[in-house]
Symmetry: C2
Amino acid sequence: MHKFGVQGNINTWLDQIHHEYKTAVSVDCVIFGYDHSGLKILLIPCDMPPFENRLSLLGDIVHPDETTDEAAHRVLSTRTGLDDIYLEQVQVFSDLKRHPLSRVITVSYYSLIKIENDDFLLEKDNLGLQWKNVKDITELAFDHKLIMDTSLDRLKRNLREHPIGFALLPSVFTLNQLQTLYESVLGFEMDKRNFRRKLGNLEILKATGETQKDVSHRPAKLYYFDKEAYEEKLKNGFSFGL
Amino acid sequence: MHKFGVQGNINTWLDQIHHEYKTAVSVDCVIFGYDHSGLKILLIPCDMPPFENRLSLLGDIVHPDETTDEAAHRVLSTRTGLDDIYLEQVQVFSDLKRHPLSRVITVSYYSLIKIENDDFLLEKDNLGLQWKNVKDITELAFDHKLIMDTSLDRLKRNLREHPIGFALLPSVFTLNQLQTLYESVLGFEMDKRNFRRKLGNLEILKATGETQKDVSHRPAKLYYFDKEAYEEKLKNGFSFGL
DNA sequence: TCAAAAGTGTTACTTCTACACCCATGC
DNA sequence: GCATGGGTGTAGAAGTAACACTTTTGA
């Protein structure tokens, strides 16, 4: 093999590239939801051999007139009817054999949605669309299990460094719900008093003044994430951490 | 616009995709090097209009028979003759107008090399290939400035959380060289004694027993990064941090 | 003997961890 | 009145940040 600089810079050579250098590009979305039973992702049955009996992530080919971010947003809004969803690019998977029909390079995203808003599951075009507990997922179609695991690692990290957990909870929540979310996703228990003290110091939660109703114990105060306060603090060099 | 589930799962619909949904995919490498004058990246002149007077990152189209990781490694080894280079995927850039000739989705990588090994600059096929100080770079061809900035952010973060700084230094170095690297990349000064204490506690550096030669001051001890010790510690739940 | 970087400890402050009891509500 | 989760403070440990002088070498 030649050693140095024999091929051109892509940017100078692109006009020599013919269509066999082109490839299909897709996006795959790991859509996380959360409820009392734990962290879940949204899956759909796969009908492509040899994966007919498996579930797969939601994805689609990237269209010529959209960015990959836009494609991911399109997949989400088409499937769920939801806009303004937390969405983050994870990474590219480009294994040659990852797709049985042809070469498909995929860009993975993860997103966080409030599981309470899942009326879209009833839509007739969404047949088979379902939530699965992350802990119960042992295999998926294609390399989607790998994509899920990679996204989950990313989620765990971001959960501690950015105020994104709120995107998985109802817009108003109790401190215990928040702590349980953290424990469930991260996989270890946290001390109640320390957790609450840290949150208090952050000063990004506001009490609604309301409390829980119809619970057979002392009702908890309800809070919401004060995004404006958070962004104001960001400007002053503040950084979130739990 | 239709609302729900009208398009198929990519995985079930791929056979319907014709070639106009295919696109060129490239990799672009932000190759970092470091010496006393600071952090640099490797650039090459661009000869594609309208960027004839700008420099660009090293990149190439992804071939049909290779992953994007392999393409990035190929670009690196073809240009520099170096193998076994630290390489990490950053993210995809897919803006529709990012490339003047046609749509090109690019996967960016950053890599770290020991600048002392830059004989490859002399190769005839590498005409114009050059190191530029990151601080002096105000514009690049295409969206490469954005790619550089994004990669630099990633580097800064990883530098504090993973033992990667060593990949930019000679295989044997002084503690002061290491500290200066950190200060230069991260952009703030660190306390010498605290820095050394932290490093000592990590127990991943070993003294060679040698010292600097031919310096007109007290010669510093030389160290190397003990990768085996580091990986052993990793298994026991250790995590790097500076 | 001077210049220049190497090397080394202590103290105050901040943050983190571990831990136990009373409170408000529904049944 | 009892079961259930809600809500609160303190003390010890660990880690971080700030700070100055002596040493070794070459010129």
